[in-house]
Amino acid sequence: MGEISEETIANLKKQATILRRHVLRMTHNVQSGHPGGSLSCADIVTALYFHILRVDPQHPRSPDRDRFVMSKGHACPVWYAALAERGFFPVDELLTFRKIDSRLQGHPELGTTPGIENAAGAEGQGLSFSVGLALAARLDHAPWRVYCLMGDGEQDVGQTWEAAMAAAKYGLDNLTAIIDRNGIQQEGRTEDVMPLEPLAEKWEAFNWHVLNIDGHDFRQILSAIEEAQRTKGRPTVIIARTVKGKGVSFMENKIKYHGAATSDEELRQALAELEVRL
């Protein structure tokens, strides 16, 4: 990863901080939404939208664009923030999130929001949808790739494993799955609600190429995605260890912030903590 400069990393870190601040404002503004799981995957989403994905905000439906599928639809605040910062729609529009008549629905809707690639909300459908996209790309001998971000809670869903089998059957090396392994779902620790470990071994047993990384280390994120791009004959899953609520001291690893917005005072403190990293 020598070719990734310090400057690139510094810019990505700054961009992720900008996205985190948007997430906090958007969810605070309507006192709803899911800040914790948006903050945990903010670095992954930043790496994709500001370094990896071949997407063009001026042509959001360009046939040869890479597809990013967010299976954990509740983390859409960070997706909207990334799309706005990339110029898919005005940044000002972010504060319409979850409000009446907005293009920014509480969970993503296909067709209304520029840059959104899938509808999600009911968990566990995104990887299957991504398999369909990847099969179509292969059928068309198209160069674009599919990146699917899943939550670790979604590993509870049977359909996730149906999709895992199908992707392996068809050797979909144009598909990369990333698991936001923050260890927390709505009602508690994943290992208490429904134990997932040994998770990497499960994916290996399903014939996937498995990478384990720190999901807040940009060098590791970029390196893993590039390894996935080089891997032929089978799909790659990147299990990214993350911290729910990452970047805000009082939100980190707190189950409460899966689906609770910050108070006025908490928002001030959170934005102040993040501001020093800009």
């Binding site: 296909l110 509808a119 459908q125 949808f129 369909g132 099969l135 149906e162």
Partner: protein, 317 residues
């Protein structure tokens, strides 16, 4: 059907499989996904003609439907086919979120609808799929009356930009239309004119409506027969006109009367031209094992029951 009926018995699956191959020849963007029923439902023929365009996804219908949605999102016209109980019920929220809410061209074509599945019994006899599917926004719901209409549903579905659900029978059904007949999605077809009562049927019950109309004629009753092969979008004008002109309606379906075409027609009639109505269909019960004809008789899905219902609604005028 009784042996006395004039129609040839044919497989809707046979017509379906052939129509799909023909469509595949014309349109290279048509692809098919299956769930370990491709031979039974005849999509295997598409796979033989276009091996790279049939995706066998195993006994995993939720995944099959979402994969279909992904293929469709990338520009393919996708036919997702299996038995109706697996294709509509086991997949309901997948269809709702990944197909209908996303408004993608996924065509869910399901065989083995209704009681006439036969000996496999209640687990495989899907009598609730029309209700499930017609309740989903953006969904087009088709119920072809016979083989030729099943073929036409394939072509029509491919022309629709959004999602389609189409259900048909495992058992051979009377061929009461021809490939040359017109077919238009959203348009119910008057199969026989009449002035005293209208018999509105779908699927294999349309033939039974025609039989009932013939029996009623012998009793001096003039019965119109309407083939409601599109359940949604609902053809209000044809039903409204029938209600006004004949003053009484009987619906006939191989489906629960709770939320099938009887409920759809009753809703239309109640909101427009209020006339007496009776429903012939599955009475909010599960089926059981038996031969198709035995089951249809036991559960009251016969021409005789339609005739009786017709006389009752005429008496209520």
């Amino acid at each position: 059907m009784t042996a006395a009926t004039p129609w040839k018995l044919e497989s809707q699956r046979g017509y379906f499989g052939k129509a799909l191959v023909d469509l595949g020849k014309r349109d290279p963007d048509v692809v098919v996904v299956g769930a370990d029923t491709t031979e039974s439902i005849k999509t295997i023929d598409f796979g033989k003609a276009f091996p790279e365009r049939l995706f066998q996804l195993g006994i995993a219908e939720p995944n099959m439907v979402s994969v279909a949605a992904g293929l469709a999102a990338a520009g393919k016209t996708v036919f997702a086919s299996t038995y109706s109980v697996f294709g509509s019920a086991h997949t309901y929220n997948i269809i709702r979120q990944n197909v209908a809410y996303t408004n993608l061209p996924v065509k869910i074509f399901c065989s083995h609808a209704g009681l006439s599945v036969g000996p496999d019994g209640a687990t495989h006899q899907m009598n609730e799929d029309i209700g499930l599917m017609r309740g989903i926004p953006r969904m087009t719901v088709l119920v072809p009356a016979d083989g030729p209409e099943t073929a036409k549903c394939v072509d029509a579905a491919a022309e629709i930009a959004g999602p389609v659900y189409c259900r048909f029978s495992r058992t051979n059904v009377p061929t009461i239309t021809s490939l040359d007949d017109g077919f238009e999605v959203g348009r119910a077809r008057v199969m026989r004119d009449g002035s005293d009562v209208t018999l509105v049927g779908c699927g294999l019950m349309v033939a039974r409506c025609l039989e009932a109309a013939e029996a009623l004629r012998a009793q001096g009753v003039s019965a119109r027969v309407v083939n409601l092969s599109t359940v949604k979008p609902f053809d209000v004008s044809t039903i409204d006109k029938a209600a006004r002109e004949t003053g009484a309606i009987v619906t006939a379906e191989e489906h629960s009367v709770v939320h099938g075409i009887g409920a759809a027609v009753a809703s239309c009639v109640a909101q427009n031209t209020f006339v007496p109505l009776a429903m012939v269909g599955v009475q909010d019960v599960f089926g059981e094992s038996g031969e198709a004809d035995e089951l249809l008789r036991k559960y009251g899905l016969t021409a005789e029951k339609i005739s009786e219902a017709a006389r009752r609604v005429i008496a209520r005028k």
